[in-house]
């Protein structure tokens, strides 16, 4: 394996949690709900995932528990913003804070416990192709799942009737309600999907990427996932491009550090955050006057009878 191959491989693994979390949030936002608590759901997924995996000795169960934990936390959010029509920004922040705290409590007994990561799956024959084979067809199951997820979400949003209804709810919930669509039920399902995705992304971080638990290990990736959704203009395939760009940045930054670039390591570590800001600015400049996300995004909905 060449160094270049190795770099590409690490970029893919670093991008995958961003992609999974972003694609979940994309669906949530398309339904008109802004859930800022991705970071909280992700970190609870990471903690619950590794706790369950260590307790049961099964990575599969760990992943399952992580997804359920993400969904459980998103359910709390849903109760607040759908049931009580609370402010979505504030509720999302509450979710982020609560998730970080809960994950610390859950993960406390597991600090420093090492376990083997989840192995890679080799696609027979295809993985023998030079370069492409080792990069694309010799990955862990999450990578394949994340790509399948992007395609599925793209198909759902653009080709299926249910996806059309979901987008209608996000664009104009009053009109969708008048047509008889159950706005809150649709949004509930979208929020649960987003929570499950964030939990899965968290499980990837604690079970594959760094197979141990440390408090606050998601280090702002949930927030970057939110930025990716904006960057992607709420389109699934662009979210994939965005996630891989951000993943590449984090990895290249690490390589620059080890290659002895004459810059303090903290400056390089700050780069992904600074570039997120830069990208947000550039994308908004490029989109002046154009569509800026689903029209009902973040607006509470109260049905009138």
């Amino acid at each position: 394996m060449t160094l270049f191959e190795a770099i590409i491989l690490t970029i893919i693994t670093a991008s995958t949690p961003l992609l999974i979390a972003a694609i979940g949030e994309l669906v949530v936002e398309r339904s008109g709900v802004l859930n800022l608590g991705v970071e909280g759901m992700m970190v609870i997924g990471a903690a619950a995932g590794i706790a369950a995996a260590i307790a049961t000795g099964s990575s599969t169960l760990g992943v399952l528990v992580a997804v359920l934990a993400g969904m459980a936390l998103s359910l709390v959010f849903a109760a607040l913003v759908l049931g009580l029509a609370a402010n979505q920004v504030a509720a999302g922040l509450a979710l982020a804070i609560l998730g970080l705290g809960l994950s610390g409590v859950i993960g406390a007994p597991f600090v420093g416990v090492q376990r083997a990561g989840i192995g890679k799956i080799e696609v027979p024959l295809l993985s023998d192709i030079p370069f492409i084979g080792s990069v694309l067809f010799h990955q862990d199951p999450f990578v394949y799942a994340s790509i399948a997820l992007v395609v599925a979400v793209w198909w759902f949003l653009t080709k299926s009737r249910a996806g059309l209804v979901l987008r209608a709810v996000g664009e104009n919930h009053a009109a969708a309600h008048a047509l008889g669509y159950p706005v809150r039920r649709i949004r509930l399902l979208a929020i649960l999907f987003g929570g499950g995705c964030a939990g899965l992304a968290g499980a990837y971080m604690s079970l594959v990427l760094t197979p141990f638990w440390s408090s606050g290990m998601t280090a702002g990736r949930g927030w970057i996932a939110l930025a990716i959704v904006v960057f992607a203009s709420w389109l699934p395939f662009r979210a994939m491009v965005g996630a891989y760009l951000f993943g590449a940045l984090t990895i290249l930054q690490l390589h620059a550090q080890s290659a002895g670039v004459p810059l303090p390591s903290q400056f390089l570590a700050a780069l992904p955050y600074l570039i997120t800001i830069l990208v947000l600015v550039l994308i908004m400049r490029a989109r002046r006057g154009g569509a800026a996300g689903p029209a009902s995004l973040g607006v509470p909905f109260v049905p009138d009878r």
């Binding site: 800022l36 909280g40 709390v76 607040l80 009580l84 029509a85 609370a86 402010n87 920004v89 504030a90 509720a91 922040l93 509450a94 979710l95 804070i97 609560l98 998730g99 970080l100 705290g101 809960l102 994950s103 610390g104 409590v105 406390a108 408090s215 702002g220 927030w223 939110l226 930025a227 904006v230 303090p264 903290q266 400056f267 570590a269 700050a270 955050y273 600074l274 997120t276 800001i277 947000l280 600015v281 908004m284 400049r285 002046r288 800026a292 109260v302 009878r305």
Partner: protein, 357 residues
């Protein structure tokens, strides 16, 4: 039978006062359940968390010391959130203010200056916080970039900058390679209010600012503008209030207060710069702002309450071996319950008998 929400035309004052108290009560009940699940005696844990910090002079002083930065930041954030401007990067503005104010203390270290030094430090800290908050504000008004994300990203940048400074150029040469700056000279630290304790003049400064902000929000045109833009943006536009100018104003106000809180913390409580300068004050202040109903006086009481949980959490960690993150859980739950109770203010819930329409 089904539950229907109706928008209230007006909210009774009594309900506005009671709702944060209900939220606190619900948080305590959840806390008791969580303590029981963690295998601790809920009664003893609740006592350690919420009452023990108030039982002696030392504890009371510590509560005031912790409440000072929380309330200062929260008052600024409340102004932002009133105008529906979402500054969630106060933690970064806090650190930036501490760094700028601390810089003055570091360059004057070893020389004798007058009492003006402290004043300069506080001013520089506040200005630096405002300047740091100006970045997301301008990115929002000039380019329309989402201020939630940009202000949050800058928190990580500020944390890394502080880490770089105290490990690099600002490290104490006589500090055995520890990542911290020199210990500030006595004249660059805040005078104590009483011997034996850590209560310093930061707390009265905070209280004076809370009162000032109460007047600003309630009695001035600027305060009216802030409230109007948040509650009725269309009406505010017709009244000729510029949204862009307001975003810049509230960001700078909250940045200045967070920066001031930062330099007060560095010069008062810690007396040097170090990476762990803030136990997340900037984020916890978000909870304080909401618990205080986005009102300066409310923030004062809310800040005191949250400060109690901070001290109580530290005590509980030592005495009951409860994880420190349990405090974070409580604070997150509290924000949830506050938001849930707020819905009771905006809507009336009614059970309607009969089949769903």
């Amino acid at each position: 039978m089904r539950l229907v929400m109706e928008k209230r035309t007006e909210t009774p004052i009594s309900l506005m006062l009671i709702s944060p108290l209900i939220a606190v009560a619900l948080t305590m009940i959840s806390a008791a359940i969580m303590f029981a699940l963690l295998g601790k005696d809920p009664g003893a844990a609740l006592y350690t968390y919420f009452l023990d910090p108030l039982s002696d002079s030392w504890g009371l002083q510590e509560v005031a010391v912790k409440a000072t930065p929380l309330v200062l930041i929260a008052v600024g954030l409340a102004a932002c959130y009133r105008a529906k401007v979402w500054n969630i990067g106060a933690e970064g503005q806090f650190l930036f203010g501490a760094m700028a104010g601390g810089y003055i203390a570091i360059i004057t270290h070893g020389s004798t200056q007058g009492p003006w030094l402290l004043l300069v430090m506080l001013l520089v800290g506040a200005m630096a916080g405002a300047a740091f908050a100006l970045i997301p504000a301008i990115l929002r008004t000039r380019f329309g970039a989402n201020e939630i994300l940009t202000s949050l990203m800058l928190v990580y940048v500020a944390e890394l900058l502080l880490d770089f400074l105290v490990r690099g150029p600002w490290r104490d040469p006589a500090g055995f390679n520890m990542p911290n700056s020199v210990v500030f000279e006595p004249e660059a630290t805040l005078p104590l209010l009483m011997a034996g304790g850590r209560l310093n003049i930061g707390t009265p400064i905070m209280i004076a600012l809370v009162l000032g902000f109460m007047l600003l929000m309630g009695r001035t045109l600027k305060g009216f503008e802030i409230r109007l833009v948040g509650e009725a943006p269309r009406a505010a536009r017709f009244a000729g209030f510029s949204e862009a100018r307001l975003i810049i104003t509230v960001f700078m106000i909250s940045g200045a207060l967070a920066g001031l809180a930062g330099v007060l913390e560095a010069a008062g409580t810690i007396k040097q710069l170090q990476p762990g300068l803030s136990p997340g004050y900037g984020f916890t202040a978000i909870i304080v702002a909401f618990l205080g109903r986005l009102n300066p006086i409310g923030c004062l009481f809310a800040g005191i309450f949250i400060a109690i949980t901070f001290i109580g959490g530290e005590n509980a960690q030592i005495m009951l071996r409860l994880p420190l993150d349990a405090t974070r859980v409580l604070q997150g739950l509290l924000l949830f319950f506050v938001l849930a109770c707020d819905s009771l203010l905006l809507y009336r819930f009614r059970l309607i008998r009969g089949a769903a329409a």
